[in-house]
């Protein structure tokens, strides 16, 4: 986990990014931050859960296949900890079963890598009604 910022500005969307591909998390965090998002980068499920205990988030973007804890499991725990937190799945493992399982576990959207960055931003705003 890095760049943890507990201070909250209500106009800024607080986004929890969970992915074990560090390079991808870093570049996405930079780009999203440039678009005004407050991005908290986490590189595993446990890190994400730890971040969630320390701060509130408006939305989470979660990868499915991670080494320490599976994305589906993370989504299920997130759902239990903060039932109102919308989760978008962004994964390179875009198969039908995984998508179905993710949605069933509480995710609201499903996108596959490499995705159109603008589409991701649009989806986030759409989910949050902004």
């Amino acid at each position: 986990m890095s760049d943890f910022r507990p201070n909250h500005n209500p106009d800024i969307i607080r986004l929890l990014f969970v992915d074990d591909e560090k390079g991808f998390v870093n570049v996405m965090a930079k780009r999203l931050s440039k678009r005004g998002f407050d991005v908290i980068k986490t590189f595993s499920g446990p890190e994400a859960l730890q971040a969630l205990r320390k701060a509130d988030f408006d939305i989470a973007v979660v990868d499915l296949k991670m080494e320490e804890m599976d994305g589906i499991e993370v989504i299920k725990i997130l759902g239990k900890m903060t039932p109102d937190l919308p989760v978008i799945i962004l994964t390179g493992h875009g198969d039908e079963n995984a998508a179905r399982e993710g949605i069933k576990s509480g995710a609201v959207e499903y996108l596959t890598k490499p995705c159109d960055f603008e589409e991701l931003v649009r989806k986030i705003k759409q989910v949050l009604g902004k």
Binding site: F24, R31, K65, P114
Partner: protein, 565 residues
């Protein structure tokens, strides 16, 4: 694969041969053993009966001949004992007695004579002039004078015709006299001649020197008569005094001989028959049996061959089907492994590609704030970033195809109006067709049922088929594509037909194989048609292709529907 080509395999040919051999051996062995044993038993039984029958006949004739001789001897003995010497010296008396005998026995008695001890015929009654004839030097006389009675061999004698005589010795005051009767040869011979069986069976009599005592019906050739007589006597002897033997004559034909000694063992009565004639019935039975065995053999051979061929064909077919099934299982396994591999690769590639694309996006983001870069460099950097994005997108398409091939993309069924979908896809291709000098026509049947399937997937299939057709036509500097929809039975049939160069036959069978492509490297993954095949199969349909070189290619997509569709 047809029956003939299956049976050309050396293994199956060898199997047929083995089965035929075993079937024939198993069938023939018992048949031959049973038939052979029966024939052998029948042959032995027939032989025994035949020899027994011939033996009986010879015994009967021996009794007849011996009876005849004894009877004639008794006639003369009766005369010798009944009448005085003086009566017998009376020629008239002798003639009267001869007449009486001839009246009683026909011409059996030829003449009568009364001979003194010097061998002079004192009185004679008969057709020849033999009064006072002297027999003192005759062999028979010497034997007759020393015996109470005597029957001679057949000889020519003074009259020059074959005959034999019966003598009885009388004594008058110690002086021996002989009463002699000549037996007609023809009468005696007829007794022997009566023994005739079949075409070649006849009887004759030999004396101990091997001389004929009767006239044989057929010529009896034997270089050494005495040796012949001895050969007959050397045969198998029964307790009834019969001799059985088989001797070849000069011509080499085998004869059966059944013989019996007669006339106090001076003569031998011989019955002879050609063996083939004697065994004619047996030979006929043998021939019939051989014919039946031969015909049975043919039936066995033909049946064995046909049955073996039929069974081996069944085995070969079963083997072939099993092999085909194995191949299909292996192929399916390979495809499944390939699908897993493709899926894995796609997933692994997606992450680095995503980073690459996003990094490019990030550079682009930064460029927006950068004022220091010259316009020329900015343009070049933006072009390079755009290229990175384009190639990233291309990578994404490839991984999507790989995932499609592995059937791991997200799909959902919905109501699809086929004609609308076709029009939509043709619309997508309009721009490319225009530049490629390709005309796309459509012949769509009205009122097709609404289908329940994945719209995006069917779209993907048609788009792929149209793109392939356009690829083929563009290489041919343009052409026509016709898309048709039809209703055939319970199927909606979509056909995509082009008038391009056609697909060589060698490629036609592999066209739906994954990674099979005829396009240049970098232009095709070889997954398009394989994915189409998988999608249509998943929908319960069928996709086939027909093509003629230089005439064009047609893809047929058949989609089944139910009334509730």
């Amino acid at each position: 694969m047809n029956q003939r080509s299956l049976l050309k395999n050396p293994y199956y040919r060898s199997l047929i041969n083995k089965m035929v051999f075993i079937a024939i051996a198993v069938s023939f062995a018992p048949m031959l053993v049973v038939s052979g044993s029966m024939l052998n038993r029948f042959s032995i039984s027939h032989n025994e009966k035949l020899y027994a029958h011939l033996g009986e006949l010879v015994l009967k004739h021996r009794q007849n001949i011996d009876g005849f001789l004894v009877e004639k001897l008794n006639n003369i003995r009766f005369m010798a004992k009944s009448f005085d010497i003086e009566d017998l010296k009376n020629e008239k008396f002798l003639r009267n007695n001869l007449a009486a005998l001839q009246t009683e026995y026909g011409s059996v008695f030829e003449d009568l004579g009364f001979i003194n001890e010097e061998g002079i015929q004192v009185t004679y009654a008969g057709p020849f002039k033999l009064e006072k004839a002297s027999y003192s030097n005759s062999e028979w006389f010497r034997k007759a004078i020393n015996s109470d009675y005597f029957i001679s061999d057949v000889f020519l004698g003074l009259r020059g015709t074959p005959h034999f005589i019966i003598t009885v010795r009388l004594k008058n005051n110690g002086t021996p006299w002989i009463l002699r009767a000549t037996i007609n040869f023809a009468a005696f011979n007829s007794l022997v001649e009566n023994l005739r069986i079949g075409e070649t069976g006849f009887a004759f009599i030999l004396n101990s020197k091997g001389e004929f005592q009767s006239k044989p019906f057929f010529e009896v050739t034997h270089r050494k008569p005495y040796s012949f007589y001895e050969s007959i006597k050397a045969g198998r002897k029964t307790k009834d005094g019969l001799f059985f033997s088989e001797i070849a004559d000069d011509s080499g034909s085998e004869n059966i001989y059944v013989a019996s000694l007669i006339k106090n063992e001076d003569w031998i009565l011989i019955y002879r028959q050609d063996k083939s004639d004697a065994f004619a019935d047996l030979n006929q039975a043998k021939e019939a049996a051989i014919f039946i065995i031969f015909m049975g053999g043919i039936v066995i051979i033909v049946t064995s061959f046909l049955l073996s061929r039929w069974m081996v064909t069944k085995i070969a077919k079963a083997d072939w089907e099993k092999e085909l099934m194995n191949q299909q299982v292996i192929e399916t396994g390979k495809l499944a492994s390939l699908g897993e591999l493709a899926s894995g690769i796609a997933h692994e590639i997606n992450n680095p590609v995503a980073i690459m694309v996003e990094e490019a996006g990030w550079v682009n983001d930064l460029m927006e704030d950068e004022r220091l870069v010259s316009k020329e460099n900015r343009d070049e950097i933006e072009r390079a970033l755009a290229q990175i994005k384009t190639q990233g997108k291309r990578c994404r398409e490839i991984t999507q195809k790989l995932l499609s091939f592995a059937r791991k993309t997200v799909t959902s069924s919905e109501d699809v109006t086929i004609n609308e979908l076709i029009k939509e896809v043709i619309g997508f291709c309009a721009q490319r067709a225009k530049f490629g000098n390709v005309v796309i026509n459509s012949k769509l049947q009205e009122n097709l049922p609404v289908m329940q399937l994945s719209n995006s997937e069917l779209q993907q299939v048609l788009l792929n088929l149209l793109n392939n057709a356009m690829d083929a036509l563009e290489g041919n500097k343009g052409g026509n594509i016709t898309v048709t929809s039809d209703l055939e039975g319970n199927e909606v049939v979509i056909r995509v037909e082009d008038d391009g160069p056609g697909i060589p036959k060698v490629n036609l069978g592999r066209i739906f194989d994954p990674f099979f492509t005829t396009k240049p490297v970098g232009k095709g993954t070889g997954l398009g048609l394989s994915i189409c095949y998988g999608i249509i199969k998943e929908m319960g349909g069928e996709i086939t292709v027909s093509s003629v070189i230089d005439a064009g290619t047609t893809f047929h997509v058949r989609l089944p529907f139910k009334k509730n569709n």
